[in-house]
Subunit: 187 residues, 2 copies
DNA sequence: GTTAGGATACCGTCCAGCCGGTGCAGCCCG
DNA sequence: CGGGCTGCACCGGCTGGACGGTATCCTAAC
């Protein structure tokens, strides 16, 4: 059973958050309207008011994934020098892998969308393509920069599925090394 | 609708294969016994003869993931010099990313398991942990080696979800660069 | 300044259909 | 003859979704 967190804030956000929690805790296949509404502390009718169908809930989850990603990256930029040419790439590493709970939720949103309707991933596909276009234009070593983003993705996914093999120390080591490779790809 | 491939071979394998195809084509949420049996060209009773419950099917899918992984790596070792100290790591890159259809199916198996029952991932978690232990023992630069495996995972996952942004040329470039980083992590 | 009326945000119930699973009579091939 | 299926009927539970109701707030006419 997924606990009903009595988080305040607008119901819409609580529902989305609850959906991510459900996926992370019991799997995407058990993402049902009933379970989500209970986990969000909202009646089923209330859920249906905000998301008139399951598909619309999943679509919102996909968009939330994109938004969370952008937000994480944007807020991480603050901690990196503006002179650093690999700033964007480093913000991606720190932003996504730095805030643990958020990255797990993001992976959950991605999983949920993927499991239920592959066509809903289009939003995400577009955003990733755009990001890689920027990367190709700015980096000196595109392949190396791309590998960094792939590794970030891989780690995020493994942690969402709780199959990551790293100790805390190893994880830190990996993040540090990723930052180093980010530097290398802009030299 | 997922086509019924009239592949020969033992029914058990055909069913597993069909399940992977269903997940890849319509998503893990629509992995139902009816759909899988139809896709495998087997009656529902026949499916239940081989896998007495859905859980047992998913468990077999998880084990198949592990097996496929080992098989891909093992067969890729043939193409790499035995003197190469990064042989295992390189085999992981070439083995998994080299055979496109297989890697997509592997991602599908992982997705299906993750979506339906997170506890079934334990087999996979164990295998990954074991692999990383070997990696930590053999490599000179563990973090860098770990990043290579993460990137391989990330690319596999993105391709399974069809959100990979790379052109064929870029993909090749990425694989080549991964091999280079593999070398670096053993110097 | 009070009251009518509409929009917003939600509740609770009901239902048709799908899903996993059972049971079983048969058939086909070695 | 018997193991490995097929084909089919059936079931109970769960799922997505429809629907009618309701409490709260905003607006604006009187």
């Amino acid at each position: 059973m997924v606990e009903a967190h009595a988080v305040p804030g607008p119901a819409r956000d609580r529902i989305l958050e609850a959906a991510e929690r459900v996926v992370a805790e019991v799997g995407a296949a058990r993402l049902t309207l009933d379970v989500v509404s209970q986990a969000a502390g909202v009646s089923k009718g209330g859920l249906l008011y905000h998301f008139p169908s399951k598909e619309s809930l999943l679509g919102a989850l996909a968009q939330r994934y994109v938004q969370s990603m952008e937000q994480c990256i944007e807020s991480a930029k603050g901690g990196i020098s503006e002179q650093d040419r690999s700033r964007d790439l480093k913000a991606c590493i720190v932003g996504i892998l730095g805030s643990d709970p958020r990255s797990k939720a993001m992976g959950a949103a991605l999983l949920a969308t993927a499991a239920n309707d592959l066509t809903l991933l289009e939003v995400i596909r577009e955003r990733i393509a755009e990001y890689h276009k920027e990367l190709a234009a700015s980096s000196a070593d595109f392949a190396r920069a791309a590998i960094v983003t792939l590794a970030v993705d891989g780690l995020m996914m493994r942690e969402s599925l709780r199959i990551s093999p790293f100790t805390d120390a190893q994880r830190q080591q990996v993040v540090r090394e990723l930052l180093k490779i980010a530097d290398e790809s802009y030299r």
